[in-house]
């Protein structure tokens, strides 16, 4: 295996794109935990739903229009579904034991999986890339799929928007304060239920977007949700539950380690991720940027 610099660059960029998708997912997961103190085991299912919805959009509207419409519509639909789930189910378990909360979101995975099976069947689905984003581009002497840069673009745009939201808006400040002190939302006089619903919808919107964005590059299948949630969990373990910056950091680390892990031991690339998580836990049990206080049961 030669350490060709152009191949390293390709892997690096590939790792960044993985990181972007992971960040979209992990940021939502970690925000929900930070504000609402719930771990959404079914987060991967929203991601999967986004991908399947993107597929449907491209079936309904042919050509590139289908894809762009999907980017707009899929996350929105997912977000609405998220809202329904939060209002209909999650609200009932907020005060209850963490064990029960975990099991409720775990149950959702099964329900989502089967509903998706009912609607879309078990066959693999494919989404075609829009013409404008196909092909390769040469950058710094290496050839990259154009789509990589699209993902990077979307990911960065979302990261910046999220940063602006959290740092500059009233709502964002509320979310950050809430992640520090659980009861802050109620204490400051805001309607806790509404804030929680909004946060959950935001998180599922991000998840749906991630699914729609990744759709043209993968085979859309039933197992998608299950696979991605594990990687998501690793990212938040590394970064620290409740910390969005930690999610970004964790996603970047995870993305790059996976990308370079593939070069070293193609079959065991995932194992590197787990090894990283294990190392982080040994030295910083609550993640690189996490704090024990909020994670307490």
């Amino acid at each position: 295996m030669s350490l060709d610099p152009s191949m390293l660059l390709v892997q690096f960029i590939s790792g960044l794109t993985t990181a972007m998708v992971l960040f979209l997912l992990a940021s939502g997961l970690t925000l929900v935990f930070g504000v609402m103190n719930v771990i959404n085991f079914a987060h991967g299912a929203f991601y999967m739903l986004g991908a399947y919805l993107a597929f449907t959009m491209t079936q309904l509207l042919s050509g590139s229009l289908g894809f762009w419409a999907a980017l707009l519509i899929a996350p929105t639909v997912v977000c609405v579904v998220g809202g329904i789930v939060e209002v209909g189910l999650l609200r009932r378990i907020y005060g209850k034991e963490h064990l029960l909360q975990i099991l409720l979101t775990y149950a959702l995975i099964f329900i989502f999986n089967d509903l998706i099976k009912m609607i879309w069947g078990v066959n693999l689905r494919m989404v075609n890339m829009p013409a404008s984003l196909r092909g390769f581009v040469t950058f710094l002497g290496s050839r990259f799929p154009v789509y990589y840069f699209f993902i990077l673009g979307v990911g960065t745009a979302v990261a910046v928007l999220l940063w602006l939201l959290l740092k500059k808006t009233q709502f964002g400040k509320l979310l950050r304060a809430s992640a520090e002190h659980r009861d802050m939302v109620g204490l400051l006089g805001y309607n806790v239920s509404t804030v929680f619903t909004l946060v959950f919808m935001m998180a599922t919107w991000l998840g749906g977007l991630a699914g729609a964005v990744i759709a043209p590059t993968v085979r859309i299948s039933m197992g998608m949700g299950m696979e991605i949630i594990i990687e998501c969990f690793i990212v938040v373990i590394i970064g620290g539950l409740g910390n969005v910056l930690g999610a970004l950091l964790g996603a970047l680390l995870a993305g790059e380690i996976y990308a370079f892990g593939i070069l070293l031991l193609p079959n065991f690339a995932m194992a590197f991720l787990f090894a990283l998580a294990a190392v982080v836990i040994i030295f910083r049990p609550y993640g690189l940027l996490g704090k024990p206080a909020q994670g307490m049961s």
């Binding site: 935990f33 975990i102 099991l103 299950m226 938040v236 539950l241 787990f274």
Partner: protein
């Protein structure tokens, strides 16, 4: 869970206890014959399957119900037990007794490593996620290490010794499994009622207070974890011998979820609750999958109903009813 852990016999005094034991004992012995002659081999297979899962659920409850640790990674111990036994039988042509003994020790070793890294973590969510990830690591290792574990082809045709062969009937295996499960359950029962069990329960209630009476909380949790891994490994062996073929699927994290659900269904505050939950789950699965392919939907909805309305599980409800009846009789 809202209730105290029942570690004493739920029935009145000694007479009640012995009647209860004899009746259940007799039923367990007669059952296979009834099923085999009266109904079908398939139901006997289900009963045998229930035995393996019941042991898994009982061992898991040591960690969850008694230790208060929500481990989402117990599939690792179940699977390591099954794979160790299967690999020794298939690749090394080991006698059953050796394979049978090696498996739980292998599972306990894995439990020691995962437990050591995990019990320092305070916080239900962190603990659940971390144990899940470690267990997935084991899954990936087994899945990808084709040269050693046959990867996702799995291990077929495990050479089960003649005396428990399931070629003709499941009845011999059933009694073999019954004896093993009863012995293991008895040992777990003693552990739960021992001083160790009492302190473990106190840790679950109030780890801070336990620390302030001098208890090394992590130490105790780790020991409970390893014991649980040991018996989960035995359950894995029973499973492997029954199915005679295994695949990495048994290490996937949804198996860890399944065993938690069994505990929830049956009731975690009652010692035998998880065994009841295992029976319900296996029977429900068998029933539902014969009618529809949407087992997940069914399971998910059942689970949500239980979480929202019956968090103490069927066993918990039974205990409650019994205690109300007892109070009414006395009062």
């Amino acid at each position: 869970m809202a209730d105290r852990m029942e570690t004493g016999p739920v029935t009145h005094g000694n007479a009640g206890k012995w009647i209860w034991i004899s009746v259940s004992g007799l039923s367990l012995i007669i059952l296979p014959f009834v099923l085999e002659k009266g109904i079908s081999q398939y139901y006997l297979f289900l009963a045998a399957n229930i035995l393996a899962w019941a042991l898994f659920a009982l061992s898991f409850n040591l960690v969850l119900g008694y230790g208060g640790m929500m481990s989402f990674g117990h599939a690792a111990f179940f699977g390591v037990g099954a794979y160790t036994c299967a690999l020794l039988l298939v690749k090394a042509s080991c006698p059953l007794i050796l394979a049978f003994l090696a498996a739980p020790f292998a599972a306990a070793c894995v439990g020691l490593v995962i437990g050591y890294l995990s019990v320092r973590i305070k916080g239900v969510f962190y603990f659940a996620v971390i144990t899940l990830c470690f267990a997935q690591l084991v899954y990936i290792l087994v899945f990808k290490w084709r040269s050693f574990t046959f990867g996702d082809d799995g291990i077929q045709g495990i050479p089960v010794p003649a005396f428990i062969s399931t070629d003709e009937s499941y009845i011999h295996y059933y009694f073999f499994a019954l004896i093993i499960v009863l012995i293991c359950a008895f040992v777990l029962w003693r552990i739960v009622r021992s001083p160790f069990g009492m302190i473990l329960r106190s840790l679950k209630e109030n780890p801070e207070r336990a620390a302030f009476v001098g208890v090394n909380v992590e130490h105790y949790r780790l020991i409970a974890f390893v014991i649980s891994a040991f018996f989960s490994g035995i359950a894995g062996v029973l499973y492997a011998l029954l199915q005679t073929s295994i695949s990495p699927d048994i290490l996937f994290w949804t198996v860890s979820g399944d065993v938690i659900l069994m505990g929830l269904l049956g009731g975690m505050t009652l010692f035998l609750g998880p065994a009841l939950g295992a029976a319900i789950m296996v029977l429900l699965n068998s029933f539902v999958t014969s009618y529809t392919e949407y087992w997940g939907l069914c399971l998910g909805i059942t689970l949500i109903l239980i979480v929202l309305f019956f968090p103490r599980g069927i066993g918990g409800i039974m205990v409650e009813r019994y205690q109300t009846w007892k109070k009414r009789k006395e009062g």
